[in-house]
Structures are given as C-alpha cells and as structure tokens.
C-alpha cells in the first residue's frame, strides 16, 4: 500500500498537489456545511407529512393511506409524520426541523428526468445550461477554482448535476480507499513511479473541448483531491453506530470529511427508490426509516465531533405523487411534495401551506411554494451567498435562528 506521503510526492512532482486552505485554520473549522439529500423517484409528500384528520385523504387512498397508528402527530393535531420518521419527529420536537409544505415546480412536469433536471439546475428550461444550482452558487467564492473539494458528491452514482459548476467539476467519491492510484500489490515500490506517470499523462492543460481534455481536467482534480483527502481524514473515528445501509454509509463519509476540515461547504447524497407506483406502503416505510435514522446518526456523530451546529441537511424530491391511489397499491407521478431542512441552526416548524385536498390541480396537490424559494433561503441564510444570480428573483424566507 502506498503511503500518503509517497502519494503526495508522486503528484507534487508535476505540480498537482493542492495547497490545502483548511488544515488548522479556524475559519475553515467553523465553516458552515450544507448536506443536500435527494429522495430520488418522487417522494409521496402526503404520506410523509400526513393530513390525518382530512376525510378526503382516506377516501382517495383506501389502501395507501396511513392509519392513525402509522402516524406520529404534530402539536397542531391535524398533521403528522409518517411513523418511520420517528427520529426526525424527535428532532422536530426539539425545534430542529423545518417542514416545507407544498414545495415544487412552478409548472408541474411529470417526467422524472425533466423534473429532476429542473430541481438540480434551478432552471425551468434545464437543457440550455447543465450547471447545477449549488455549482453556480459556489462560484461566487473567489477561491472556487483552486479549491476543488469545496463541494463533494457522495455515492456510487457519480457527480450530481446539482454540483456541476460552469468552470470546475466538483469531485464525487464512494469511498476513500477507492480514491487513490494503487500499485500492484506485488510491486509496492512501483507506486511513486506509477503515480508520477499517471500525473504526467494527464498534465497537458490545453482546453480544446475534446473529450481527452475533459478527462485530463477531471484526472488532475482527482489526483490533487486524493492527496488532500488522505491527509485530512486520517484521524477520524465515527462516534456512533450508523445503520447498515448504503445511504448511512454515504452520511458516515460526510461526517468523516467534515471532521477533516477540508473546507467542503456542500455535499450531495442520494437515497433512491421513491417511485412507488406499486406496493407503496412497505417501500416508502423502509426508505423514510433509512432517511430519518441516517440523518439522526449523522447529527449525533457530528455533535460528538463538535460540528453539529455548523451542519444543515436539506431534502428534496423531484415531485410528489397523485392524491388518488392507482390499482397497484401505489401512486403515480404528481406535483407538490415536502422538503425538510434539519439542524440545530434551523428555526424549526411548519412552513408553506398544508396540502388542501379540496383544491387539487389535475388530481394533484399543487405546488404552492416555488422550490427556488427554499434554495434562496438556504443560500442566503445559511451559506451566505447571493441567491439572485443563482435562482433568479424568487424571494427567500427566514429559515434559520438569528445569530
């Protein structure tokens, strides 16, 4: 196994080593962090935050509706969390969960791909410019180009379009071990020569728009980030037991990277499988439990490492689902859904209008709150970016505690 030092020397030889702005600097150690969680497939908002006293809810969903026993009521009585969200319900009671109701696209689009693209780019015509809303926002920082670890996509799916900037590709990683060039185990002494050569074949900085130039640019980012990551995460030990699933693994990696003071401002992680056209109850219960338990473990771990107060998690999903269930014990693509914004810094409570089953739009709970308002609020209130250039003139609202 190549040592960290050799790896860094291997890349330093061609000038690719990163100068780490992070380690040891107070500013970076107090860096606020946003973790964006994509609930891919279209999470059913109505069965996430449930209008449990509205009789129309059960009429529309004879088999998909949750019973009283499957819901954890909120103080105002007419709404409740899906029981699988017990750990989030507890955080809500502590005032650490903002529930954004009726959130969605100003003009509904029932295609997964279009809706996801619109959410991730924050552009209603997402195919003109592939940059993501966070990728663009981060470029407001003067050091955005020199700091490729400013944002990280976590997970096997590769970089999220959310984190695509107009200039710099932000890295994505599934595990730290996989994030380095490893020599043949039989010839470990070959490591430095191998790393030098991999750096050299990717060194040509000319940008001619060719795929080779693109690959070289990504490779240079990867090699530089590899060295910096190896350095910064050396001492992390997780302080809590995370649930055993892929989503929790992603969140553990987030905690590890936050603990290293790499200066990463934003993470994007994905929990998929919400496209519940059939057998929704079992499927969504499992997924929401993974969501709540994973996020709660992340905050516990963060608290033990002393960075919970600079951590905020927000969830999004491309759309909600039809009010009326289909014949397969599921629901089809709908419109408005619900987002959570979670953390000790969050001003907990209910935001937006609760779903009104009396005024549906084409069979759907309409989106009464433009998704870009949530982005604007998080950008301005948490990360300190100007929202206007990123999401247009949708006004932000107050989501965070003062100070």
């Amino acid at each position: 196994m190549l040592t960290r030092r050799e790896l860094i020397q291997g890349t330093a030889a061609t000038g690719l080593a990163l100068s780490l702005p992070g380690t040891g600097l107070g500013a970076v150690e107090r860096q606020r962090v946003l973790v964006v969680v994509q609930l891919a497939g279209g999470n059913d908002g109505l069965n996430t935050v449930v209008p449990l006293t509205d009789p129309r809810y059960r009429v529309a969903r004879p088999s998909v509706a949750l019973s009283q026993a499957e819901v954890l009521p909120l103080p105002r009585g007419d709404l409740g969390f899906h029981a699988s969200l017990a750990r989030l319900h507890a955080l809500f009671a502590q005032g650490q969960v903002a529930v954004i109701q009726g959130v969605g696209l100003p003009k509904p689009d029932r295609s997964h791909f279009e809706s996801t693209a619109i959410w991730q780019t924050a552009r209603l015509e997402p195919h003109r410019d592939p940059s993501g809303w966070l990728g663009r926002a981060l470029e407001q920082r003067a050091d955005a180009v020199r700091q490729p670890l400013m944002a990280l996509g976590i997970g096997p799916a590769g970089s999220s379009p959310t984190l695509v900037g107009t200039r710099a590709p932000y890295p994505s990683l599934s595990s730290l071990d996989a994030f380095a060039v490893q020599p043949d185990r039989r010839f470990p002494q070959d490591g430095p020569a191998l790393n030098r050569a991999v750096a050299a074949v990717n060194a040509d900085p000319r940008e001619d728009g060719s795929p080779a130039a693109y690959i070289r640019r990504v490779a240079r980012t990867a090699l530089g980030a590899s060295a910096a990551l190896a350095d910064a995460t050396h001492d992390y030990r997780s302080m809590v037991e995370y649930p055993k699933n892929g989503f929790a693994d992603q969140l553990r990696l987030v905690a590890q990277l936050c603990s290293g003071a790499l200066g990463t401002l934003a993470f994007h992680v994905t929990l998929g499988g919400f496209d519940t056209h059939a057998n929704q109850k079992r499927q969504q219960a499992t997924l929401l439990q993974q969501l709540a338990e994973g996020v709660a473990a992340l905050f516990e771990d963060a608290a033990a490492h002393g960075f919970a107060d600079r951590l905020v998690v927000m969830t999004y999903s491309e759309f909600g689902r039809r009010v009326k269930e289909n014949a397969s014990g599921g629901t089809d693509h709908g419109s408005g859904s619900v987002s959570f914004v979670i953390g000790p810094a969050v001003q907990g409570g209910l935001y937006g209008k609760p779903p009104d089953l009396g005024t549906l739009a084409d069979g759907d709970v309409p989106a009464t709150l433009d998704f870009r308002a949530v982005y604007a609020s998080v950008l301005q209130g948490w990360l300190g970016f100007k929202p206007g250039p990123v999401v247009g003139n949708t006004p932000p609202f107050q989501l965070f505690r003062a100070g």
């Binding site: 970089s159 050299a200 795929p211 690959i215």
Partner: protein
C-alpha cells in the same frame, strides 16, 4: 484512416474491441466483408455452446449475479460481437432495472429479446419488449387497469423509446394508457385480460378508433419522429454525438426503405464516410462495459467474469441495474473523479491477474503476438500500437518511457533489457496498467 486503425475503430464500435491476433484475420477479410460478417451473424458460430450448457447448472438464472456473469462472458468470448453490442445498446435504450423488477430470469429473457431481435425491425422489437415480463413489471404496465389506469409505461414509451419529448401531449399519454389496459402478467408470461381492457374510442396522435396496445405501438413505430429519434441515437452510440441532419439522412432513408430494419440502418452507418471520419475516431468516451470488456479481450488469457462484474458496477455501470428508465447518460457523465480512480484501479486489478492455467490470468505478452520485443522502445511502440492505434501524445509517450526506465528495484541500476518473466511480471504489467489509465485509452 489507414486500414488497421479503421478496422480497430470498427471493432471497438461494432463490438468490444480486438483480441490478440484478431486484427490480422479481420484485415485479411477486408472492411466491407467484416461489416457483412458482423451484421449477418448467422453465418458465424458464436462459440458459446459450452456457456449455454452451464445455464441451469452452475449458472443459476434466479440470481442476477449469474445473469451478469453470463452476459459478461458472452461479451468477452462471442464470435458475434455486434450481436452483443446491439443487445448492450438496447439495454440502455429500453432500460429496465433488476432493482425494481426483482426477477433475474425475466432480466435474462429480456436480454435474449435484444439478442434475437436487436438487429431486426424496430416495430417488431418494440412489440416484443412491450409484452416482455421485465418491462411490464418495470414500468407498471402489468398493473394498468381500465378502472384505474397506470400511465407509467404509456409516458415512457413515448418520451424515451420512440417519438421523444415534445411530440405528444398529456392527452396522448392518457389515451395510450387506456389502450394498454389489460396487458398483464400471469405465471410470468404476458396475457391479455379483456375485462380490464378499456375498449372504448380513443384518439392518439391523430388516430381515432378503438385502439389497443398493439395499435399504439404500431402508430409509434411508424411515426417519423421515432425514425429520427432512434437513428439519431444509433448514430450517436456507434459513431459520434450530435450528428447533423445531413449525416443522419442516409440512415433515415434506409429506415424508410426497409421498414425500420436496424441491420440495414447499421450497414448504412458502418460503410458511411462519417463513420470512418476523423470526427468519429476517439470521439466517444468508453462506457465501463466497453472499457472493461475491451481490456480483457485485448490482454487474452482467462479472466473470471464474475470478478469483473462488481468492478464494472463501481466504475458506474451495473449491468441490469441502470440508474433510471433513461438508461445511462454516457459521455462525459462516465468520467467523475471517483469513476476515474475506479478505472485506474480496474486496470491495476486486471493487469495483476497472474494465476496459472485454469485460474484467472491475463497474458500481457499476448499483445506482442509471438514476436518478442527487442528493446524498451520496441516494447513501448508495440504496446501503443496494439492498445492505442499507435497514437499517443509525445509528452505521454515520454512519461511512459520514463516509467519503463525506472528500475523496479529502487537501489538498482538500469540493467540491459531482457524480455523475461521478471520484466513481464513487473514492468510490462505496470506499463499496461498505465496505458489503460491514459485519457486516450478511455476513448473509443
């Protein structure tokens, strides 16, 4: 393009790359004959009878890992490479995921449709895929009932499989969903349940009548936007992205003359000037399957396909488990910082397979095809010739040469070049690891 380069290009696109000594044989046949051999595959024994005998025995098609292993073995060893490549194309087009379907046998059956009908008429392929158990399950067609239509398949068949976004309305989605009602699964097979079918009048894309699912598919298959959409996708997959109308014209003409024959559309494409143009060469980023299978084929030997399957997944392509019904995005989406490391580390794992006969091993010296190299310069030239069509930027070539010049014992001095076991095991494997890690090798 010189004939060797053009042939290597053809076999990368219409197959999964050349095996040792294959180039000579293909060149002896010539380009046009090779194209014909690839398309009229019935004339070539696929050489996979031994594999097929294992199905139901050590290959258990109730387990998706075994189905994946079976397909990877086919891609590596088939003598009908275009059949597997076309199946791979349709797997991305009619993307269906084991994650939802949950039945590995159905996934294998669908794959067999792509193999048997993937070069036939598009309309026939579409009718079969729409009745296929994996698809009926994946896009919820099987639970689409008159009393409560499920629009999932109706929407995606238009958005992704045929005419494309912008060529249908929400009303068309609803009307198509009505037409497909009653298409269900019974005991794992397609069945039509008249009681659940809505046989009322429908108006779909300008056609009115008591339309059923077959009618909708026929209307879609014959729609001019389907010809454009599918020809454009075939061109982009096999030649280069973003072809202009002029480049697509010959494919569309063939499509119209042959009633949507994929075989004839591909023949038109492969023999076209555009296919063998400078614009097409190295224009595509290899998918993980192309990268992995191509590397395994080039290095000969016998590699355990079961061991390669999870490595391909880590590079971003888990066969039978595409990320969405849109398939894999491809292109630059294949290349992220983490997926690049996965490629580098795949190259390390592959080149380190050094078991003996009967266990997983590659034969790096196979790239020299029996003619021993005479110097380090010769090693480098011939490796680059074999794996990179002989073309690598001078700086990169110099970096690889520096790597070869570093003695593998750090205290040792460069010794005289000897092509022995030690050189092959150490430096040659390392060199191939590096070649497989160059930006140029990621390109097809």
């Amino acid at each position: 393009m010189d004939p060797s380069k053009r042939m290597a290009h053809l076999l990368r696109r219409a197959g999964f790359g050349l095996a040792p000594r294959e180039l000579e044989q293909r060149l002896a046949s010539g380009f046009e004959r090779t194209v014909a051999d690839l398309l009229e595959f019935q004339g070539t024994d696929d050489g996979l009878q031994n594999l097929d005998q294992l199905v139901g025995g050590i290959l258990d098609f109730n387990a998706i890992e075994d189905v994946r292993t079976w397909w990877v073995y086919r891609m590596v060893h088939t003598r009908r490479p275009l059949v597997e490549k076309v199946a791979f194309f349709w797997h991305g087009h009619f993307a269906t995921s084991i994650g939802k379907v949950g039945n590995a046998t159905w996934m294998a059956q669908q794959n067999q449709i792509f193999r048997e009908h993937g070069l036939g008429r598009f309309g026939e392929l579409l009718q079969r895929v729409a009745r296929d158990p994996a698809m009926l399950n994946y896009l919820d067609g099987a639970s689409n009932r008159k009393a409560s239509p499920n629009e999932n398949f109706a929407r995606e068949v238009m958005e992704l499989f045929t005419v494309g976004l912008g060529h249908y309305s929400e009303t068309d989605v609803r009307e198509a969903a009505r037409a497909f009602t009653g298409w269900q699964l019974r005991d794992g097979a397609f069945t039509f349940v008249a009681a659940d079918h809505d046989d009322g009048n429908k108006t779909f894309l300008g056609h009115t009548g008591r339309l059923d699912g077959s009618d909708v598919l026929r209307i879609l298959a014959e729609h001019p936007e389907t010809a454009k959409h599918v020809c454009q996708k075939l061109f982009a997959f096999f030649a280069y992205d973003g072809p202009d109308a002029k480049a697509l014209q010959p494919l569309l003409r063939t499509w119209n003359e042959t009633g949507g024959s994929i075989r004839e559309v591909l023949r038109t494409l492969f023999v076209s000037d555009a296919f063998s143009s400078a614009r097409a060469w190295r224009a595509k980023i290899k998918s993980p399957a192309e990268y992995a299978i191509g590397s395994i084929r080039a290095l000969g030997g016998t590699v355990t396909p079961r061991a390669m399957v999870p490595l391909m997944a880590r590079m971003g392509q888990d066969l039978f488990n595409p990320p969405s019904v849109k398939g894999w995005d491809g292109g630059t989406a294949w290349i992220s910082t983490s997926s690049l490391f996965e490629r580098f580390n795949f190259a390390a794992t592959l080149t380190a397979q050094r078991g003996g006969e009967g266990t997983s091993h590659v034969d790096p010296e196979a790239i020299f095809e029996g003619m021993q190299p005479t110097s380090l310069a010769d090693v480098l030239d011939r490796t680059v010739a074999k794996l990179l069509d002989g073309e690598l930027p001078a700086d990169s070539r110099a970096a690889l040469r520096s790597y070869l010049d570093v003695p593998d014992d750090p205290k040792g001095k460069p010794a005289a070049f000897v092509f022995d076991r030690r050189f092959v095991d150490g430096k040659l494997r390392g060199l191939i690891h590096l070649v497989l890690s160059t930006p140029e090798y990621q390109l097809s």
